[in-house]
Amino acid sequence: MDLNQVYRIKQPVVLHPFGDQVYVIPVREKLADMTSILGLNATAARIWHSLEIGETPEQIINEFIREYETPAIEIRHEVVHFLSEIKDYLENDTQSGRFPD
């Protein structure tokens, strides 16, 4: 995937915090789909928010590298792994629709 692309959340969702998680409730065909709820921990929720405000994966990775003592390669791997897990929710900002492999 191109880490310098802007990816947007393509699907309508409702975000709801509970405990130490933020739950993502997808809205499909105008109805909430509570059988496909996604729970985000604090880091994942921050990545989600960063995507919503238009940051690229590279920008998000660099922010984490600056803030945490974790090796950069590990942070990069974790962020990319998370993005691949939520790829059904993402679309490339400059292309139509599909999340590139």
Binding site: V14, H16, G19, I25, L31
Partner: protein, 329 residues
């Protein structure tokens, strides 16, 4: 007249100068008394209630009771603004597929239901009007409809949520054999009443008289070779309960309200995974009398070895069979 729909006392009024309401047998058995929770004005008119077309068309596949049984060849339209819910649809069981329109103002406790003159001899609240009315009143009254069976021992109710085919009806009947009163075999209404949650029978079929009990436990059932219970932390309980909650909300505010209701229940009511084999012993297991101290039935925590969702730090693995027959161990 006042109808008891899953604990909501609905006062049915007819607009000035019009006939009285005709009720079906199933709704006639829900006639009630006392102060009303909600007033629904039934208007017979050949003019539509809503001037503007409703924005959202809800697909027929929505999960309301009975739609899964092949009566889903209809589509309702909905809209939500100024804290008013507007709904439009047809009575799928009516021979003429009567079009109805309903506006609900849950914060004011009032609503209007508009039907054509030609439907005066039919029950205006026939499905899905009754189910939608219950559903939206629950959203605004800390409640949900759960795809679950329910049975009560000693005046308290346990509900058993699970996918179709996992044994909801079976476990309810095992409980009945052990002396429990069945609340419902497929749909349960959970609603906050005062400081506690109460389980109500969903009035779906003729003869479903109003029954309710304090909700003691929510079980998420699964088939197993032995009986076991695993306590669930509130977050896991929320995720599981959300999966089994009847869903219809189409507006972000309504989704938020329903999620908050599910969280409130998951935080307040003890939730467990319950494995059981096809054996009536599970009914006897669940029937143990309440602890005099807590008022709730004592249930030893019986855990099964590593399965999905179990945190490894949960101690004390033992089977329920051991707990029942070797109380000293």
């Amino acid at each position: 007249m006042i109808l008891n729909l899953a604990g909501f006392r609905i006062k049915i009024l007819c607009s000035h100068g019009q006939d009285t309401i005709r009720l079906s047998l199933s709704h006639a058995s829900l006639l009630s008394k006392g102060p009303e929770d909600f007033k629904l004005l039934v208007i017979y008119s050949d003019r539509f209630l809503f001037r503007d077309p409703l924005l959202h068309a809800i697909p027929a596949a929505i999960d309301l009771p009975r739609l899964a049984e092949g009566q889903s060849d209809w589509c309702s339209k909905v809209d939500y603004s100024d804290r008013r819910i507007r709904l439009q649809g047809i009575h799928p069981e009516s021979p003429h597929h009567v079009v109805w329109e309903m506006q609900l103002d849950p914060s004011e406790g009032t609503g209007q239901l508009c039907l054509p003159h030609s439907s005066r001899n039919q029950d205006p609240l026939q499905y899905p009007v009754d189910a939608l009315l219950i559903f939206y009143l629950l959203i605004f009254n800390t409640g949900i409809i759960v795809h679950a069976s329910g049975a009560g021992f000693h005046g308290n109710c346990s509900i058993f949520a699970g996918e179709s085919g996992t044994g909801k009806s079976t476990i309810a009947r095992y409980c009945q054999v052990a002396g429990a009163r069945i609340l419902h075999e497929d749909r349960i209404v959970i609603r906050k009443t005062g400081e506690q949650f109460t389980a109500y029978r969903m009035p779906l079929f003729p003869g479903n008289l109003p029954v309710f009990m304090p909700l003691e436990t929510i079980y998420f059932i699964e088939q197993s070779d032995s009986i076991y219970e695993i306590p669930l932390p509130p977050q896991v309980a929320f995720e599981k309960l959300a999966c089994h909650t009847v869903q219809h909300p189409f507006h972000p505010e309504l989704v938020e309200r329903q999620i908050s209701n599910i969280i409130s229940i998951a935080q307040s009511v003890p939730c467990y995974r319950l494995g059981f084999p096809p054996d009536p012993e599970v009914g006897r297991y669940l029937s143990r009398p309440p602890d005099p101290g807590t008022g709730f039935a004592w249930k030893p925590i019986a855990l099964c070895p590593a399965q999905k969702g179990i945190k490894p730090e949960i101690p004390d693995y033992r089977t329920v069979h051991d707990a029942i027959h070797k109380p000293g161990h």
